[in-house]
Symmetry: C2
Subunit: 250 residues, 2 copies
């Protein structure tokens, strides 16, 4: 590998976080262009046809979709395996990743984080409190019941740390951002797994960036990350966008 | 392998079709429980927590999500490889699969097939013609422009037949169901790739089932498939549902 890999996308996205944790765990050098997808410029549209983050740049390769990127990192840098060796366990780990991407994405990202954070503080739109209440009180508990039944009492889901643990911990960070704590009395296995994962240096390092970004208006986030010594790209695929970031997220 | 694998899910779903084509190409014995997801019974909810199809049953293993299932089939039955051997090409193939699952799923399945077929003929609800027109005239052309730029003039996308070709051909079958033909003058590479894929025995075999199902009310589809000699399970995870299937789909 000659150049560090580039990840386009804000570390506040759980999809970006999943990829960054894999990079950290594998010890792969990388740089971040920490943009929110809605500020991406024309060139960003060319790199990401659905205008989603993250995007991976590896030399000439442009790769979209967090799941596809994580599989690529595993194929290209197999040294610290993040997928179970056994085919059945690997399949089950991929399913938990997909469950996080789609179901936790819908509930935690779109119905909680987006409503309480992005709509309210970035777009100056109101929060639909009914959507948020239903997500917190009905939909997320169903997901937690399902996950509780899948997880072990201790250790990682499939013995060694894998993409399953990483994905779950990445998504539940966005629940923390909107002050949702998993009830350890009701879902002890989920709560314990999240604590174990968040205690890893990879998650802890990223959490310092995330916490700083949450306190910082969008246009100033790059400068704040730079001041913290975060590994940033020299250039950005984001537009300067004065209409965003006028209020604080948290 | 002692028992044939079981696939729960109607062959009219492009997600089910993708898996069935992989099984056919790999020569893996399988049986289908050809249910639509909305007629699944209580046990189906246990097997598929998001009530999606397809579900794979392989002995004790229950596996959800077409992408996860196809990866599992590749890992467990590697003999006819359907993923490129090179890591970069494999990543690009996975991305095209994801593009089909998400973008073509949104446009072709939800805005065209669901509107013109499922809503109208199964639920006796009206078609929102504005949604369909926008999908046909604006959204699908954007996707076709993107795909045209990714595809080769001839042959398969990544040299050998792969999950990329299979996915694209699986999703565009549902466009055919609602009488959408890809304009070969405007998108010659896409049109030619689809014709090549649909000419494969795997797609042709499934097409005979699909065409028969489209002419058959939902409650009678299993009997029609059985009469055609389709490989069916002995039992079903579907409810008998007199409120569906009263009108014909095509």
């Amino acid at each position: 590998m000659s150049e560090p890999l580039t990840i386009i996308g804000s570390p506040l996205s759980p999809y970006v976080r999943k990829v960054l944790v894999c990079l950290e765990l594998k010890g792969i050098p990388y740089r971040i262009d920490p943009i929110a997808p809605f500020v991406g410029n024309e060139e960003f549209s060319r790199l990401s046809p659905l205008r989603r983050i993250p995007v991976l740049l590896d030399g000439d390769l442009v790769l979209n979709d967090s799941t596809v990127i994580c599989e690529y990192l595993q194929d290209r840098f197999p040294e610290v395996p993040l997928y179970p060796a056994d085919a059945v366990r690997r399949a089950k780990a991929r399913w938990l990743e997909e469950y996080a991407d789609s179901q936790l994405g819908d509930v935690i990202v779109w119905r909680m984080f987006f409503q309480k954070g992005v709509r309210r503080f970035l777009f100056n739109e109101g929060t639909d409190e009914d959507v948020v209440r239903k997500a917190r009180e009905e939909e997320l508990p169903v997901a937690l019941d399902y996950l509780e039944a899948q997880l072990p009492e201790q250790g990682w889901v499939f013995g060694e740390l894998s993409i399953a643990d990483i994905s779950l911990a990445a998504f539940f960070r966005n629940a923390v951002f909107v002050r949702y704590q998993v009830d350890a009395g009701r879902w002890p296995r989920v709560a314990a797994l999240l604590e174990r994962a968040w205690a890893l240096p990879a998650f802890r390092t990223l959490a310092t960036y995330e916490d700083a970004m949450l306190r910082t208006p969008l246009p100033e986030q790059r400068a704040v990350l730079a001041a913290m010594g975060a590994p940033l790209t020299d250039t950005t695929y984001g537009n300067a966008s004065p209409r965003y970031g006028l209020r604080r997220l948290a």
